[in-house]
Symmetry: C2
Subunit: 343 residues, 2 copies
Amino acid sequence: MLSERQLSILQIIIDDFISTASPVGSRSLSKKPSIPYSSATIRNEMADLEELGFIEKTHTSSGRVPSEKGYRYYVDHLLAPVKLQQEDVQKLKSIFEERLFELEKVIEKSAKILSEMTNYTAIVLGPAVHENQLRKIQILPLDKKTAVAVIVTDTGHVENKMIHLPEGFDSAEIEKVVNVLNERLQGVPLTEIHHFLRREVGNIFIEHVTNYEQALEMLERDLHVSSKEKMFFGGKTNILSQPEFNDIEKIKMLMQVIEEEKMYELLSKNPAGINVKIGTENANSALNECSIISATFSIGSHNIGTIAILGPTRMEYARVIGLLSYFTQHLTSALTDYYLEKD
Amino acid sequence: MLSERQLSILQIIIDDFISTASPVGSRSLSKKPSIPYSSATIRNEMADLEELGFIEKTHTSSGRVPSEKGYRYYVDHLLAPVKLQQEDVQKLKSIFEERLFELEKVIEKSAKILSEMTNYTAIVLGPAVHENQLRKIQILPLDKKTAVAVIVTDTGHVENKMIHLPEGFDSAEIEKVVNVLNERLQGVPLTEIHHFLRREVGNIFIEHVTNYEQALEMLERDLHVSSKEKMFFGGKTNILSQPEFNDIEKIKMLMQVIEEEKMYELLSKNPAGINVKIGTENANSALNECSIISATFSIGSHNIGTIAILGPTRMEYARVIGLLSYFTQHLTSALTDYYLEKD
DNA sequence: ATTAGCACTCACCAATAGAGAGTGCTAACA
DNA sequence: TGTTAGCACTCTCTATTGGTGAGTGCTAAT
């Protein structure tokens, strides 16, 4: 429904605004070599584009600024896939120098590097612990009353839980319990352990463990694994350098959203693949002038994490999407090779 | 060298400025019931105090503002010990409801609560892992090539290390190694483990472990414990609400200092007890308009952590010092009871 | 030693004016 | 019919100005 000329004008307005952050006027557009029309003609086209809702004025006689709808259209239809710079590829590859079996290190480093490359804020939702499966459990007695339970998941995440031992629970008992747990619970998702405890493990305990009721209670009480993925941030303050955040109130709200783990809810329910949320699409009023581009990564066909870049709505969509998709593709294939080759 | 009258004027100026954040004039001082002098007299005294460097003007005809020297004098000589409010005591006590053997939880909660109580930013340097002593070590094999080493310290901190196993290192070997390590390294500070490995453990390995050289290498390579304490923050954005931080540049610098772990260096070398660093005493230009009040806590006579409050130089010194000293005293005695009773 | 009085200074605020960038509309043009 | 030149108009931005109020330093009187 938009003419060729309107499309190219829209594109140039958005590209221009993304790089300069100031409203784009008809005169500056008419000077571009790709636009061989006078400023008056462009004014007419711009009036139409405004009526259609793709661009806006900041005041009656200002240049035009992309609207949210404009950005949306730009992202959906005008975005030419960008070829990554050699330099960028190098930096992304350096992330994989970390040893893959320490997944959290890789993730932390990726947040840092991506934030440096983009000058926006990077957020990574790490391996979703609660979806992971139990690979191995061990209980180390420390003294008569306490012990540490060590839980290792299939993605190599290690979790520690302090536990209170029931009265007179000696290391022989512990060994029996651990053996049963390892035998019966291997491969069970961590969130399901609760259900499996009574159902699968209970009656075996009755036979082998003296005070099985207390042992079960202890495990149910202390073995609870928090269901939150770990979050890693890179460049938390980067977004403060953007000219649109020149207002203390805005900054405060924004930093609060970033600090107080509210990002978790925004990111955790994203579907697989690349997602772009623009301005008010983010459902948090502090992010009304921000966009979030997120991408998921997986082991095999199983999504295990999300990496997101938070910037102003006036964000370099093409470049960021290019970086994220390159990175998550390579991360996914590296992780898949590493973790699935063994089984 | 200061007269009684000068002292009380200085005190009132600082108290006033701390609560209002605006320069204090001679007229408003002369109205205070504790100052039975006219504004002209006070002006004379203020001129003297200014000459001595305790107070300053923001411009030629403004009221007075405390200088850094003024704050320093105030903290050192004028601070009356404040009795804590019943309400405050309640809140502080609620921190101890956490189970003491999960020290990190206690610490995290204390950061949060202290920041809420003061409206400043709270920073806690957690148990100094590297000074802690080894209490127990265990190695869990995951597959032929990898294992997890679990290290438990005397303060209940648990650390995981992924390790790469040498070729053909089976669980019998691992058990031998673990036994030797537990026997020989218990009570050794984590930082010293490196030295002890060759000296104490090496020749025992020669007797019992087949490929002892590789085993030693593995341990030396992978058992390295990071020497940094964990840091916990509370109310990172609180300080942004202070009226003195109305400048984007200042805010950016400040948030960067807070984010990028630079606080670690500032806090880690504080001596035991309560410390007050005012403005430029902090040796980081982003903190020139901030003060940091820090207090250490211990187990027995052994310092294990620091808790600090970061606010503007115009900070409620008396109250914060009261809160911190109450809190660290109680924390120290609770921890000492808990951890030393057992031995 | 203290204070009343006064001239003076400076931040803050509101009002004003001019410049610059950009728009919408109209009329002329190819 | 699409394009363009021209023009009046609008709005932001940046001084500039003048008035007000809070506060100071100094001097002379108490």
